[in-house]
């Protein structure tokens, strides 16, 4: 028998997984045939996000701890990134990067990127002039965050085809439908090793000639060991690549499905703040966090005991639609009060790049709605990417009547 969760993973349901969530939530903590536990209700997800008995370090599973990729001096296996680590290592590593990205060390850094983001957005939309059919994903939602993360990290934009391939493979390894957890992690380690090798060359270059980018900051301040620098850079590069693209594309799709909201945003750019938050609840780019969690002890929750050693899957997107927490949860309503969504997770692993994603998406949606004339969906639903974890359109084709000037 197929469980609701397995049905949800089925690519056939990618366009509307939400229809399955009420059924999924009927068992808030549901044991799967493979022994993992799927958690789908808001209260239980929040509780487990803050439960110190839940580990993000898959090395707690012996079969993963023992994975060794074939020895290759040129591309050594990287240590797990900080989102796949537990305290105290997690806290230390995250703080070392945060020092150069946000408070306390660099509180204004992200806000200071706004003018450059506006420039990139303007250029990308200018590039659509003269066309009647555009792809929001390829023409805009992908290149924007990639350019931003490349400039922030200090990775040359022209190398994009190279690391885009690795990034896609790595993200694919989060997809439970593509193999066993061991097979997928084996592939992930191998892919990250190649990406790490590439980043190591860059790190050397930045050490010799530092710029004002994050990679330069990490290698020059010397706090973080080189293998961790490479893991961290790989994490940020991939996350910067594969998440915001979905938020922007899901955003345009949702706005076009709710023309009154789109119109209001066109009239009142300040509305974008609430639109973005509601998108993070209603159409989040991450339906389940990629790093699986494991129980370090028996955990009693919602009448079920998750046994020690079990894999735990948190379906954040389902928690976001939980009627016990959000009135009328399937309604897209940016005026919603008390919108304490799970779009960026919660607890110590709360999305590191959240401020960047918020800012990019707010500026992007504001400018797209303002400048695109008469945008219409060519296909609804659009074709989706394969992975159920990072859910978003593969392409989002729009017909437009024109593009307004930048100002």
């Amino acid at each position: 028998m197929t469980t609701t969760y397995e049905t949800f993973l089925d690519y056939a349901n990618r366009a509307d997984p939400y229809a399955l969530f009420p059924e999924l939530r009927r068992t808030p903590v549901a044991r799967q045939p493979d022994g993992s536990y799927v958690v789908s209700t808001y209260r239980e997800i929040v509780s487990l996000l803050h439960d110190p008995r839940v580990s993000s370090d898959l090395r707690n599973l012996p079969e993963i701890a023992n994975i060794r990729i074939s020895p290759d001096d040129a591309a050594p296996q990287l240590p797990p990134e900080f989102i796949r680590r537990d305290p105290p290592d997690h806290d230390r590593l995250r703080a070392m990067v945060m020092k150069h990205f946000g408070p306390p060390g660099a509180p204004g850094r992200v806000a200071g990127m706004e003018p450059r983001m506006r420039e990139i957005i303007t250029e990308l939309i200018d590039g659509l002039v003269g066309r009647s059919r555009i792809d929001i994903v390829d023409d805009f939602a992908y290149p924007l965050p990639v350019t931003v993360i490349c400039e922030l990290l200090g990775v040359p934009r022209p190398d994009e085809p190279l690391f885009h391939k690795w990034s896609q493979i790595a993200v694919g390894t989060n997809d439970p439908t593509t193999g066993t957890i061991v097979e997928r992690n084996q592939l992930r380690f191998e892919t990250l090793a190649k990406l790490g090798q590439y980043l190591n060359g860059l790190a050397d270059a930045h050490q010799r000639e530092p710029g004002d980018d994050l990679l330069s900051a990490l290698v020059t301040d010397g706090e973080m060991a080189r293998p961790d620098v490479l893991s961290t850079a790989a994490l940020l590069l991939i996350a910067g690549h594969e998440t915001t693209v979905n938020l922007i594309a899901n955003g345009m799709l949702t706005l076009l499905r709710h023309p009154h909201v789109l119109e209001r945003l066109r009239q009142d750019p300040g509305y974008a703040v609430n639109v973005v938050e509601e998108l993070l609840r209603y159409e989040p780019p991450i339906h389940m966090p990629g790093p699986r969690r494991t129980a370090l002890a028996d955990i009693e929750i919602a009448g079920t005991t998750i046994p020690k050693g079990s894999v735990i899957v948190l379906v954040l997107a389902s928690g976001n639609r939980d009627p016990e927490r959000f009135p009328d949860p399937d309604r897209f309503d940016p005026d919603r009060r008390d919108n304490q969504h799970l779009g960026f997770g919660g607890g110590i692993h709360y999305c590191f790049g959240a401020p960047l994603a918020r800012l990019e998406t707010r500026l992007a949606l504001t400018e797209l709605t303002r400048r695109l004339v008469g945008p219409r969906l060519v296909a609804d639903p659009p074709p989706y990417r394969h992975t159920p974890n990072l859910r978003g359109p593969l392409h989002l084709l729009l017909d437009i009547d024109g593009v307004l000037p930048a100002h």
Binding site: S56, P87, A95, P103, A111, E277, L296, A354, P355
Partner: protein, 528 residues
């Protein structure tokens, strides 16, 4: 644009700083400092910060937009509500009344001039000079539709006539009364010494402005009392690179609230930050020069300190004098009430029309053996005011109990200290996560094998987990495997100092022989 952060909710995600770096600052790992009243140019930043907060902890102006339909207020015949005490608890109660549909007359009486303000920043960003004492106003509640009586104290209460007497001789009638008069700083006990130029306390906005002015002159500072207020003042002094001595009667700072084990960690924190911390001593005399300026302090160990400024941080005195002779069970211990916030009269019987909330309330907490607690916490003022207001306009069958666990926080020496539960209701304590050496850890308190409290130093994100354990009466010590734990927890005595409850100050006589005539009379309430 005004904003107040509910720091009981804040978990230190820092999203407000990213969104509004001109308004919010996180100078260390988890402590949040911010402007409460920023100019209109920063309005968009503040709105973005409020939307980005993962726990929705930012409170802005004009929040009462959703009003319930007129509810039970009509059924209970309440047409006049008077709130005495127009600070946090009073204001929050008023907002709840309106939000829950109360449409009758609402009067707020406060003895301070000006709009209600938020006190926690006074010992932090105001003292350090980041914001002015005047810029601490609580967010506006424009739709309160209330009559304000400001700068005028309530001086008496007539329970039979349902009237509050004001200092100017007027009376204000009520159908329901909320007492939220709070506390004031306990002054230095020697009146002559207290009058010296350079001897101060910190409680009100004026106190904070005065203390800030004096700190700006870079004095040598003595803080008398190592509780939370005293420790925060010492922390700001060190931030300003001022020499500061803390004289604490107990064996370590914060002992009264957190016990000896965590107190010693707080002591290390103070010393590492350059505080001249002296424990187990009292200040026996403050001496001035001929101009009446403070010059020296004498300590019980015989030492003499040359100081220019002494801040008495000796705790608080409850504002209950106005209730003397009213027939309520009010005294040095506060105003007694049940878990539904209904005040006790002197006989210990609840009144149906007088309610109590905030720092002045003394209420039984079921989770803590039904012991009567007084809690001088921001979060308690908010949650208790909410319950009191709800119950004031609800029929007796729909009363809510005030069951929320106490939560408080303190920012000192770059560390965000948070607590849930009642740490003094404990016999043992264990460090269960993190590292004491790095001042980043979780301490869990237990009483007879049950978890009763948890205290975090820069680990606020885990606090709710422990709150749930307390609510489930989970066994102590929590011995399951956890992230951030290197060894099984080792429970040690919590070293909670014995305390004589203020209620012992009450002298009550019982008169009458016939069961219908027997009455209690409060002879001394220990208020003087």
């Amino acid at each position: 644009m005004r904003v107040v952060v509910d720091l009981t909710k804040c978990q230190g995600y820092g999203q407000c700083v990213f969104a509004a770096p001109d308004v919010f600052r996180m100078p260390h790992h988890e402590t949040l400092m911010y402007e409460l009243d920023s100019d209109e140019t920063k309005r968009d930043q503040v709105l973005r910060a409020a939307a980005a907060c993962p726990v929705r902890a930012l409170l802005l102006d004009e929040e009462i937009t959703e009003r319930q339909e007129k509810t039970s207020a009509g059924d209970t015949g309440v047409g006049r509500i008077v709130i005495v005490g127009a600070s946090l608890a009073g204001l929050r109660a008023a907002a709840t009344l309106r939000r829950e549909g109360y449409a009758g007359k609402l009067t707020l009486i406060g003895d301070e001039q000006g709009e209600p303000y938020d006190r926690p920043p006074l010992s932090k960003q105001v003292l350090s000079g980041q914001i002015a004492a005047a810029d601490t106003m609580l967010p506006r509640r424009d739709q309160l539709d209330a009559e304000w009586i400001r700068g005028l104290a309530a001086v008496g209460l007539d329970l039979a006539a349902r009237q509050v007497q004001l200092a100017d001789g007027r009376t204000v009638g009520y159908d329901r009364l909320l007492i939220a008069t709070g506390v004031r700083a306990r002054p230095w006990p020697d009146a002559q010494e207290a009058a010296l130029d350079g001897v101060t306390v910190l409680r009100s906005r004026q106190d904070a402005a005065e203390l800030r002015r004096r700190l700006a002159a870079r004095p040598r500072v003595l803080v008398i009392g190592g509780g939370f207020t005293g420790s925060e003042i010492a922390s700001v002094c060190r931030e300003l690179d001022l020499p500061v001595t803390v004289a604490e009667r107990g064996p370590a700072p914060l002992v009264g609230a957190l016990g000896g084990v965590v107190g010693r960690i707080a002591a290390d924190l103070q010393r590492e930050n350059g505080v001249d911390l002296r424990c187990g001593v009292t200040v026996t005399a403050l001496e001035g020069d001929r101009e009446g300026r403070l010059r020296r302090a004498r300590l019980s160990d015989g030492s003499v300190l040359d100081v220019d400024l002494a801040v008495a941080a000796l705790g608080t005195v409850r504002n209950v004098e106005w209730l003397e002779g009213s027939g309520l069970a009010a005294g040095a211990w506060g105003v007694g009430c049940d878990a539904g916030c209904r005040a006790f009269d002197v006989n210990g019987i609840v009144c149906d029309d007088v309610f109590v909330a905030g720092d002045v309330a003394r209420f039984p907490h079921p989770v803590y053996g039904y012991q009567f607690l007084t809690l001088e916490h921001w979060g308690n003022a908010v949650s208790q005011a909410h319950v009191a207001a709800h119950n004031m306009i609800s029929p007796s069958g729909r009363l809510r109990p005030h069951l929320s666990l106490p939560v408080f926080w303190s920012a000192q020496f770059g560390v965000n200290i948070k607590s849930v539960g009642v740490p003094t209701f404990a016999d043992e304590v264990a460090i269960v996560q993190g590292s004491v050496e790095e001042h980043k850890f979780v301490a869990v308190y237990g009483h007879r094998g049950r978890i009763t409290a948890a205290v975090t130093f820069d680990e606020a994100m885990w606090l709710d987990f422990y709150r749930d354990l307390i609510e489930r009466a989970a066994p102590f010590p929590p011995d399951f495997a956890m992230v951030g734990r290197s060894a099984p927890p080792h429970a040690v005595p919590a070293e909670i100092p014995a305390r004589i409850p203020a209620i012992h100050d009450a002298t009550v006589m019982v008169t009458g022989h016939n069961p219908d005539e027997r009455r209690a009379t409060l002879v001394s309430a220990g208020t003087t």
